[in-house]
């Protein structure tokens, strides 16, 4: 993957360069201390991935994204955790790294960028409408590589929309299936699952905690849309 780094702090750029040097198939093509220079570059060159600082003088990372017609995959780098929810609004953002960035967390972000760039192997290319079918009340069968794999419904933590696919995260494993949130929602028991955002259905029994506009499930922070929040609150056993 060819990438560029945009950050007004030289130290931060050097760190991302160093982290990239420890990943085999990532090449840093260029680095920029501000977004304006990067826009000029992107008008001429195509790249796969941008490491983008949010907090820059004059032109923020989010301002920059809005100038791009077809943005490549973006990994945000920031010293501020407060922008995480805003980041969910952009499909091109694959991850959000809080500085100082560690190698294990960086590698996880790169994997997300790779997954987002190319669908994983197990995704079937032929089946479209019948990838999911319910059998017994607590089971769901998903079609992966022409095999029907049984998933225990209560073991599902989150289901995330990813373009033409959905990512089903269970206690043990993740599955990517060619389907839509709407289709899978029809197969899920209402008492256990709730759509909290246009891209997320969650198992409400798996919620660890809730903040204003997000819920925590395992290690995933899931955004909750303002319109879905009342229903979520209604479903909780509040003291």
């Amino acid at each position: 993957m060819n990438c560029i780094i945009i950050d007004d702090e030289e130290t931060a750029r050097a760190i991302v360069q160093q982290l990239c040097s420890q990943v085999e198939d990532i090449t840093v093509i260029e680095e920029f201390p501000n977004a304006i220079q990067a826009i000029k570059f992107l008008n001429k060159e195509a790249i796969d991935l941008i490491f983008l600082d949010i907090h820059m003088p004059d032109f923020t990372g989010f301002d920059f994204i809005q100038t791009l017609k077809n943005p490549p995959k973006i990994i945000l780098t920031t010293s501020d955790k407060n922008f995480a929810l805003e980041a969910f609004e952009y499909d091109c953002i694959v991850d959000y790294l809080v500085k100082p960035i560690t190698l294990p967390r960086f590698l996880k972000a790169i994997q997300k960028a790779k997954d987002a760039a190319s669908p994983p192997k197990e995704i079937p290319v032929t089946n479209t409408d019948n990838n999911t079918q319910s059998s017994e009340e607590n089971d769901l069968y998903i079609n992966i590589d022409r095999r029907l794999i049984k998933i225990d419904l209560p073991s599902i933590n989150i289901i995330e929309a990813k373009g033409d696919y959905i990512l089903i995260k269970t206690e043990k494993q993740n599955y990517t299936v060619h389907s839509t949130l709407k289709k899978i929602e029809e197969k899920l028991p209402d008492d256990l699952f709730l759509k909290v955002h246009r891209s997320y259905v969650i198992n409400i029994k798996k919620i660890i905690d809730i903040e204003d506009n997000s819920v925590l499930i395992e290690r995933d922070v899931i955004p909750v849309s303002r319109s879905n929040r009342p229903e979520l609150m209604k479903r909780l056993n509040l003291l």
Binding site: E10, A14, I15, L19, H55, S79, D80, K99, P100, L103
Partner: protein
């Protein structure tokens, strides 16, 4: 116990590369005094929002140099400044001075 800066994060990042370690220290030694000066200028001019932005930048280096309690103090000070509150200034300055002294030893 008073926190002191350290190179644990930088050494981990360098993964044995003395060249990278020295390069990064060199950049920090150059960038840190400029960021500190910008902060002091804005702070002394009562430009608290701009000073908060400077603190935001400094926060990365404070985290990199191993401060944990100091990192939280920096977050709190940045938020304070945005509300024109400066009660954590002295505590924050102690962190900056501690880094300054540490960088002189490198």
């Amino acid at each position: 116990m008073k926190e002191s800066p350290n190179l644990v994060y930088i050494k981990e990042l360098a993964a044995g590369s003395e060249e990278f370690e020295q390069k990064l220290i060199h950049i920090i030694k150059r960038e840190f005094p400029m960021e500190k000066d910008q902060f002091l200028t804005n702070y002394n001019n009562n430009a608290h929002l701009k000073a908060a932005e400077n603190v935001h930048k400094l926060k990365h280096k404070i985290g990199m140099l191993g401060f944990e309690k100091g990192y939280q103090t920096t977050i709190d000070f940045e938020n304070e400044l945005k509300e024109n509150n400066t009660s954590l200034y002295s505590e924050f300055m102690l962190i900056l001075e501690s880094i300054e002294q540490f960088l002189e030893t490198l």
